[in-house]
Point group: C2
Chain length 380, copies 2
Amino acid sequence: MTDSLGVVTPFSIAFEKPLTLERGGTLPRYELMVETYGTLNADKSNAVLVCHALSGDHHAAGFHTDQDDKPGWWDHYIGPNKPIDTNRFFVVSLNNLGGCSGSTGPLTDNPETGAPYGPDFPEVTVSDWVESQARLADHLGIDRFAAIVGGSLGGMQAMQWAITYPERIGACVMIAAAPRLTAQNIAFNEVARQAIMRDPNFFDGHYAAHDVIPASGVGLARMVGHITYLSDIAMGEKFGRQTPRSDRDAEGANFAVEQYLRYQGQQFSHRFDANSYILMTRALDYFDPTDNERIPLAEVLRQTQCRFLVLSFTTDWRFSPARSEEIVNALIHAERPVSYTRLESTHGHDAFLIADPTYESIFKAFMDRVSDDVGATDER
Amino acid sequence: MTDSLGVVTPFSIAFEKPLTLERGGTLPRYELMVETYGTLNADKSNAVLVCHALSGDHHAAGFHTDQDDKPGWWDHYIGPNKPIDTNRFFVVSLNNLGGCSGSTGPLTDNPETGAPYGPDFPEVTVSDWVESQARLADHLGIDRFAAIVGGSLGGMQAMQWAITYPERIGACVMIAAAPRLTAQNIAFNEVARQAIMRDPNFFDGHYAAHDVIPASGVGLARMVGHITYLSDIAMGEKFGRQTPRSDRDAEGANFAVEQYLRYQGQQFSHRFDANSYILMTRALDYFDPTDNERIPLAEVLRQTQCRFLVLSFTTDWRFSPARSEEIVNALIHAERPVSYTRLESTHGHDAFLIADPTYESIFKAFMDRVSDDVGATDER
């Protein structure tokens, strides 16, 4: 018995049927970069879809090589005997459309021009992602997911699945999510976008043509994002008012937290595409199943047929427990089966990614029930 | 009886005695831009010093001309019959050293070079401001202030006064303040600084030599600052998920809050000097009367001799009520007389600037007692 998936291998799937997008525009064809873990059972009832957050990708668990020292972003929660138990479930994880980790996005060549889409990549929404994920399920022969699971923006995709395809989802897990962004949430996203757009290397998104990247702006965007992922407490515990580390560039930094943020921003700016970042933050902003309160959330959720698990974290101020509780209250009003826990954590929004025994045991108990529902057998 | 000071006139005072600064460097001479309201009584016992916050200035109350439609930044609380009652008190308000509203700062010519100081202006601290304000008091013949009052960074100056010159301050009013910044506070300041420094028009602070200003970076810095001054609730009430206004540039903005923040940033970038902004945020970061916890705050405050009023606002998350309560707890441990109220408000950190009947009545009751203490007579 091991608790790691070991080496996993991503692969790409091409979809040749055009996809018309919610906010206008069509993708004539697209590819999705995918990883799967575990084995699809004979009746194809044990599939779990994992949806990623703003800067996530398809690499959710395991390692890409024997030499990797960092596993996928949710390795704590996906693997043998883990909450999303790969001895029982067949797990599907993908890089979303518009991303920059191998799926079709701004970095991809536009078949009409032969040059990368760049800023001309059409805007995508959570509903568009759900549509592309449904086609991925079709491709894999999965009629119905035992569960669809996500944290933050990933939780919004899980919610949209339950609304759009009620008959194709057995359980919906939303962790550190919100029913839609507040003005403050949008404001922080806008600061991030402006940081990128004001970088002189942005060139209205056409930086590739100039053979540069707007690294300074993307780094700054990540700095402000990063603050909102952490709690005041976590930053206090980690950095307090300490002076910078001497083993890393500290020029002009008076405090360790300044040095840390600059470093985080710099690392991120070389791994994430600026146009993708703008597109992902806009998808977050647009998500609103109530259509600007035209339909109450409880009314929207009444059409769902799955069971729900909602989890929040006490020090998460980006999507606070109160936001999760809006979802829970709406589900109760809609008379849908929902379990909810407000988990104690000092880690802020990032808590959904971090190992924690209580989080793990509650998540696992729920997923074990899901696997019992679908008769998924432990194949150890 | 009127509740407005009417037209007030700022004036400049020159100090020719060099000022040695806490973090190194000396100003051979400097000027402070000042406004005063009310009349200094015969025994000079009724003076109140008002200290400004990050982007404030000397213009705290009244109007500069008959045509002005906007009064000074604290006009709700300074004037005839207001909490800082100019019928009783002689109010002194100044632009701090390093500012950009008329006092000596980065925009001033360096006497050694004949060119503006720019980024070579020495770093100033809250203690340096207190020293410069003490010299201002000397100049005005004020041995002792009846009260020193400030919000946010202004409250930190009031606290430092009580520590440095216990015999020169009768009452200390700290509103929406904190004993020192947390890592998260410093992180937001660092994002603001980086936004400015990464503007290609910044030129390491020497933008004046290039005849430009880093307006884009300063605007971005203001956008992120502005989010932290407002509460999630206030932004929700004001903007929610509304679409942009049609009477103002909305290019590329999907939501009103984006348009609003850009507008705020743009306005600010043309009135506030970039080097000053960096310098002011650093003064905030450095403030720490405990010298990085070498001396407990209660110990530091034991040397004070004045009475204290501490006020906080429920939705202020920049300097939350818990931060004010750290000061209150330290004062209680130090056996100093302190009154404290946690005021209900939806306005976040900005609440300290906004008219509110409860805030006003508590503030006024305290200040009336101060005026009784010093025998300030109502000269109506």
